[in-house]
């Protein structure tokens, strides 16, 4: 099984190829947000070094949201274009699940935090048990207080990762009541290697789609839709 994975959902641009049990290659850049200019050249470079024939891929996987709206669409359009051209299926991996998968095997509750602006975070809660990742709370967009309250109620140690950590660090330190840690730099951001590793499970279970039916999961309405709905609610 050979899978290509892409993640441009946040500040990181990342591409990876997994061939059976081996991560053949991964490029991950967390420098400036220029995903449109860097993502495909990174893939081209990676494919060159690992001598990848794109036609031998079994599927294309992508971090399918949530995340930066524009970032998601750059990754999504790239994945859709590749899948369409290569006639391969697409695998949509929830971004927060893939982030949690970075900490595979961790003993504590894993809580990815992505900065969703407006004091919100894209987050979820996960646990690793018998070599598998279990979802305690599915990925969602909530206020930072909501997720920290929920962790406090569970009374179990937690580990945090993601680009929301620097944003919410003060809040966490002030409000958390359980033992906690923050993931080190090499595990703390989106990595296409984790998207690819999780995509293996999806592939085995046949959780794939054709490129035309794929769309990103934003977990949030656009501002215009939100304001229109608020106006309509106000009328009722």
């Amino acid at each position: 099984m050979k899978l290509l994975a892409l993640d441009s959902s946040g500040l990181v641009a990342s591409v990876a190829v997994i061939w059976d049990e081996i991560l053949s290659g991964e490029f991950t850049i967390d420098h400036k947000i220029t995903h449109s200019q860097t993502l495909l050249p990174m893939l081209e470079e990676l494919a060159k070094v690992i001598e990848l024939d794109l036609n031998t891929l079994d599927a294309v996987a992508v971090a399918g949201g949530p995340g930066s709206f524009t970032g998601l669409r750059i990754g999504s359009a790239t994945a859709k274009g590749l899948a369409l051209a290569l006639e391969k299926p697409l695998i949509q991996i929830p971004t927060v699940d893939a982030l949690a998968y970075n900490l595979w095997g961790h003993k504590d509750i894993v809580c990815p935090l992505m900065d969703a602006r407006r004091n919100q975070t894209y987050t979820g809660l996960y646990r690793f048990c018998d070599g598998r990742m279990q979802t305690i709370k599915e990925q969602c967009a909530v206020d930072i207080s909501t997720i920290i309250d929920e962790i406090n109620q569970r009374k179990e140690a937690a580990v945090f990762l993601g680009d929301g950590v620097p944003v919410f660090k003060n809040y966490i330190e002030e409000h958390i009541l359980v033992p906690y840690t923050f993931a080190p730099p090499h595990l703390s951001r989106q990595r296409a290697g984790a998207v690819a590793a999780l995509a293996r499970e999806y592939y085995k279970e046949g959780k794939m789609m054709d490129s035309a039916s794929y769309k990103p999961e934003y977990l949030r309405l656009s501002q215009a839709e939100r304001e229109r709905m608020e106006k309509e609610h106000a009328k009722d």
């Binding site: 449109s36 200019q37 893939l43 669409r73 274009g81 590749l82 035309a212």
Partner: protein, 342 residues
């Protein structure tokens, strides 16, 4: 030789609110032209919402491309060049088409050509007028653009004039909203204008000072709003059709004023129009008459090629390709791209 081989181009356009793909052979022969319009969706908001447009593009793009290939009875293996609009336009919307086009180009090793949206509109004229060749003059009028351009050669443009404030189509949208016609303003104003008197109200025709061919529509739009206000205050009933027809006439007078000047001063005997507003029948007729009085040939694309579409991008990409233009995998969306720049 380039001329002896057929060049089959797959073109992609997502600069605003239409998701479009087309297959064009040798720049002038359209084998398919698929447009997925989002107008109904944006009507709820009285105009194009960039985030909603971008979301729709990513949903529709693969279907639209597949349909374009299917209707042309081709596969990607038949395609020689991929053309894609990379500006100007809404950045989030452009990025969908650009990323998709680059991925296909890379996966199939097909050369990629980034196309200027306005160059696409101008090139729409090549599709149905096989004999049209530069040099000619072209007026591009749409919701986002109002340009008077001298096309010196394929890919070589001299901007004679442009709007200094609102685009003509933007003025149509704003006035349509003010008189209760809603979005999109262009077609709605044209329709009710047929019942109205274009001489009923004299709205000012702004002439931009100096030697330039520039346009201004913001003052005219304000004049309409002022007129509506003063009618309301005096308790005078507004005749929607008369306001619409008089406003439309004012826009046409401003546009044709500069066209006359350009025909006279350049001596060029070929004049084309392009862009969404170019499908306005009254405008077409007026420009045609002006051309007639200067002995100039008048060219205009069918309405389906005036609206944002990918066939026009395929036509432009063909001539760019022949001129040696190739875009890399680092091609980015450029929302404020200027005509004639790369």
């Amino acid at each position: 030789m380039n001329n002896q081989k057929e060049i089959k181009i797959l073109a992609i356009e997502t600069s605003c609110d239409e998701t479009a793909a087309a297959v064009v052979v040798n720049g002038r022969d359209v084998h398919s032209n698929i447009i997925s319009s989002q107008i109904a969706l944006h009507t709820l908001y009285g105009g194009v919402v960039p985030e909603i447009a971008s979301r729709k593009h990513i949903e529709k793009i693969d279907q639209v491309i597949t349909e374009a290939l299917k209707e042309a009875e081709m596969t990607l293996d038949d395609i020689d060049v991929i053309g894609v609009t990379y500006g100007p336009g809404l950045v989030g919307a452009l990025l969908v088409g650009v990323a998709e086009a680059k991925a296909i180009s890379y996966a199939k090793q097909i050369p990629l050509v980034g196309v200027h949206h306005i160059e696409g509109h101008i090139s729409a004229n090549y599709i149905e007028n096989k004999e049209l060749e530069p040099p000619f003059l072209c007026l591009i009028v749409s919701g986002g653009h109002t340009h008077l351009v001298k096309v010196n050669d394929y890919g070589s443009y001299e901007i004679l004039g442009r709007t200094v404030d609102d685009a003509a189509g933007e003025a149509f949208d704003k006035v349509a909203r003010a008189i209760g016609l809603g979005y999109p303003g262009g077609p709605k104003i044209e329709k009710v204008s047929k019942e109205g008197n274009p001489q009923a109200i004299r709205f000012p025709r702004a002439h931009v000072s100096g030697e330039s061919y520039n346009f201004s529509f913001s003052g005219m739009k304000s004049a309409v709003l002022n007129y509506l206000n003063s009618c309301q205050m005096k308790g005078i009933e507004i005749v929607q059709a008369d306001v619409a027809a008089s406003f439309q006439q004012a826009v046409i007078d401003v546009l044709t004023g500069n066209i006359r000047k350009a025909l006279q001063e350049t001596g060029i005997k070929k004049f084309a129009i392009a862009g969404g507003v170019a499908s306005n029948g009254t405008l077409r007729e007026a420009v045609k008459n002006v051309c007639g009085s200067y002995g100039a040939e008048f060219y205009s694309p069918s309405p389906i090629l005036c609206t944002d579409n990918a066939a026009m991008i395929g036509a432009a990409a063909y001539y760019d390709y022949l001129a040696g233009v190739r875009s890399g995998l680092d091609l980015n969306a450029v929302p404020n791209l200027k005509l004639g720049e790369r």
